[in-house]
Symmetry: C3
Subunit: 394 residues, 3 copies
């Protein structure tokens, strides 16, 4: 149970708020590369409460700049790109991806006005089909090369969900909340009731990138041996997960990245990777993206889809759930651990320290194998042969 002030401390995302300053120490995806075409090279995005545009210029470089032109606030989302940058649709001011103003057509040729304009602009990087942006103070840390983004021995694709109408922390609490698997996805929607009953044991292990969640399904439930399902929450906004694929014939590894849009909305990107003999996905291969609508109306969820079941739970908790009226028990140990971790890391940033999981050593960042296992679906070890995993001790 949190007071209103404690709740705001953990959940707010805008610049200048304690939580917003922490979130600005990490890279966040702002779009999938496959969303851009020659006809549609610009997308308006909102992230951490900031209205921005992502664009790909005629040289193929990406930029992430403020949506509203510093001249008179018209939207660059309706502008044009060329080889150098993006041009405002209203009066033709042009900017490069560092925020420099390159042209102001209606000003005299000798004017130095444009040199005094500095537009909002953030660094961007491409990885695994996603365009990431960094909205924090320089120098930016390395963009983490999680296994799912980097692996080459199979097939990769991205799913972009319809925006979820609640604060980002609700999905993240869900990622250290193992009992909801049985109930929300198993019992409520009668999906795959392979278990006889609910009998589980949970561990939450803090590690250098977040919290490892270990669910041990007990013999009472499996009717046989205990089975371990272990995968991490990558602090602060990512779940690394694995699921059966094609009726259990494969394993769909995935990242579920919950990007805070503003205090009340969250954009989820899912990156999937299916290890396969027959296919390879080199770093520069295009990654397809698919859009998924989770709802058919204001309170109507597509409850036969697992992500829609989750979003129902998160949204109905409230836009920012009122944590003063909750009742946590032993089964909420992971949630409590996450809030404790989050509070500590916000305070570290307030003290001028680097928070958890910031990577600055390229050696450590070649491929971060997260060692996910899920014995129930036959996954006892992740590391594929032929890769050079930088395996984390667990």
């Amino acid at each position: 149970m949190l007071t209103r002030e404690e709740n705001e401390f953990l959940t707010q995302v805008s610049r200048g708020t304690p939580g917003g300053e922490l979130l600005r120490r990490y890279w966040h995806p702002v779009a999938a590369a496959a969303e851009f075409t020659e006809e549609k090279p610009i997308k308006a995005v909102k992230i951490l409460g900031e209205e921005l545009v992502v664009y790909r210029d005629r040289n193929g470089r990406y930029g992430l700049v403020g949506e509203h032109c510093p001249h008179r606030s018209a939207s660059l989302a309706y502008g044009r790109v060329d080889e150098e940058g993006i041009r405002c649709p209203y009066h033709g001011w042009k900017f490069d991806c560092t925020g420099r103003c390159l042209e102001q057509p209606a000003e005299p040729a000798e004017s130095t006005f444009k040199d005094r304009i500095k537009h909002v602009a953030y660094p961007v990087e491409y990885l695994g089909g996603l365009i990431y942006g960094y909205l924090g103070p320089a120098p930016a840390p390395l963009l983490p090369r999680w296994d799912v983004l980097v692996w080459e021995h199979g097939k990769r694709w991205i799913v972009k969900e319809s925006i979820i109408d609640c604060n980002w922390l609700q999905p993240m609490e869900n990622s250290v909340d193992p009992s909801h698997l049985y109930w929300l996805h198993g019992d409520t929607e009668r999906l795959a009731p392979q278990m006889k009953t609910y009998a589980e044991k949970h561990d939450f292990i803090r590690f250098e990138y977040g919290i490892k969640k270990r669910r041990t399904t007990l013999p009472l439930a499996t009717g046989g041996e205990s089975a371990v399902d272990e995968h991490p929450l990558l602090f602060p906004t990512v779940l690394r997960h694995v699921a059966p694929y094609n009726e259990g014939s494969g394993h769909r590894h995935n990242l579920q990245i919950r990007v805070p849009v503003d205090d009340f909305h969250t954009q989820v990107f899912r990156v999937n990777f299916l290890p396969m003999e027959s296919e390879r996905s080199p770093a520069d291969a295009p990654v397809p993206v698919r859009f998924v609508q989770l709802k058919t109306g204001p309170r109507e969820y597509k409850m036969n889809m697992i992500p829609a079941q989750d979003s129902m739970a998160w949204e109905t908790q409230g836009r920012v759930t009122n944590r003063a009226q909750e009742h946590l028990g032993i089964g909420d140990e992971g949630v409590i651990a996450l809030r404790k971790l989050l509070r500590e890391q916000i305070e570290r940033v307030q003290q001028g320290l680097e928070p958890l999981g910031i990577i600055r050593d390229p050696e450590k960042n070649q491929l971060i194998d997260l060692g996910v296992i899920n014995e129930r679906i036959g996954l006892f070890s992740t590391a594929p042969s032929g890769e050079n995993p930088n395996r984390i001790a667990s």
Copy 2:
């Protein structure tokens, strides 16, 4: 003309407001029984500003409990019912219809945590096809057995309207506002102009359940004899009315029950009863329900329907009509009488007294015949032969 404060005093519905405390002394319908099926045994409802769910468990019992689970606020509207109660979709907490927490699957077997959880739960009763709830202090009064809900000598059906976007008092003022019949329903929409001109006399008689409204249409209008139309407002939220049926061959008796959803929305249920030789409706017979949409767009009313004409008038008065800018005349005598009654009854509750129309004597509550007459449509007496009416002296 009321000040802003006086207006709020009469119109607010939430717990703790003067008006909300009065309204909590009465039973209000929360759903029609026919809205529940085996596949859809749970409905989210909002009443008196409270977010609740009504459900029917596998034993056929109804429950009315808080929508948001006390655990972590997910919506029980997407949960499951069994023989004992309702289970939260997120982590499986289970509640019975008294708000007791029966199960918390993720807590240790020996935990007493669940015994310390008391969920919001209200008594419910079934009558005449409706599920009623009582949100006030114990002991709950008797659920009034109005004639239309109890009669057996004919056919009963329910109409549930689309929610009206205004405060509940606007429809109720309409129920003691006899001149609007001629103008709103007669003149404006050119419906059945059986009258030559507008010539009426009105009386408003306070009685033990509210206010009887007597409209006497004068010879100047009828072209013949005076004709009396007398029917009551059942305090605080019900109109008892009668209308011609099938071009005058029958009389459609009805209750129009205006349930305050919150300060700005009202849910109307209409219960109809058509006396017939050929049909009987025993207390346990199912009562069909029909949904009616009053609008086709934000300001587009289906003006050929009488309830849509009414809702146009009520909604365009404003969400809570500004009673500081009105100009009341002699013709608003009934409206003034209702406000006076409402103010007095709110003050009685503030003084710890019982308000008007509370029934606690089962003898008086077998069948409350409201003695509705409407001479213009040939209804000179209500009491059907073969019933045992507890007729009110008027």
Copy 3:
């Protein structure tokens, strides 16, 4: 760059605000006459923050009165008209176009109550197909007889746009912002790139009705002679413009009238006039109206239409653009001049003086020829032969 207070001073439109009081010194169109039919003789309109209805009575006279009945606030928009005026749908109160209450059917015959009711009512006038209203203090000035509204030597038609979701000053700033023509309409949407490059010179000349904007396209751009395009902003809410018609075979003269709905919405009426040998449009001829939807969704503009390009720019500046974060240059000279003019005129009204452009001399108001020229499209002089223009010196 303006402070928040300065911005509100210039942009607010409600009664009692400095800007709202200035705007109330001018006539504004409230509807096109062709919007009224025998079946639909009443339209709800919002103007300068006031909720009103315009109606045409059975004698063909127009009225402009408060939407909400002074009795109990129901909407007159659903009422009826007769030969004398408009009747409230709820209880039949009847009003004439001066706001006098003619009938209160539910009051006693001898009552003088109706004589004490004065409903909101404003003068209306018809000109050029439009119904104009005047919401300011008496005596109302003359309704300006701009050339486009009065000319007879051709064809006239009205376009009514979907409502624009921003303050009225953003469109008006656009009218003294000549460089956006090349960029927003030329470059951004690749429309008619007849120019080789952007090379222009601008003048802004204050005159008795507002500001004349003179754009001189230079030889560098035309590849030949300099070309002048000169047309005025008619203070405070109108642009007088000319455009090529039918691939340059004619000239479509037009008024673009931006009516402030409230602080955050603007209704644009465009009146077009095409000089033709073959057609005449006498003052009493009906003028057709066409509705145009500028958007297909919340952020989806029909960008192949010039008015939609404009509305994109205006709306994306913000509901009331934040003028504290803009960066104005030499190219914004006209915008700066308009703000200065607007501030001065608001202050004149505050001092009890008459603002710019108020016409009270009928001699000056027979036909106000605005002397629009546009050399690039072959228009060197406006005054058609056979008219008697009251030409303004420029």
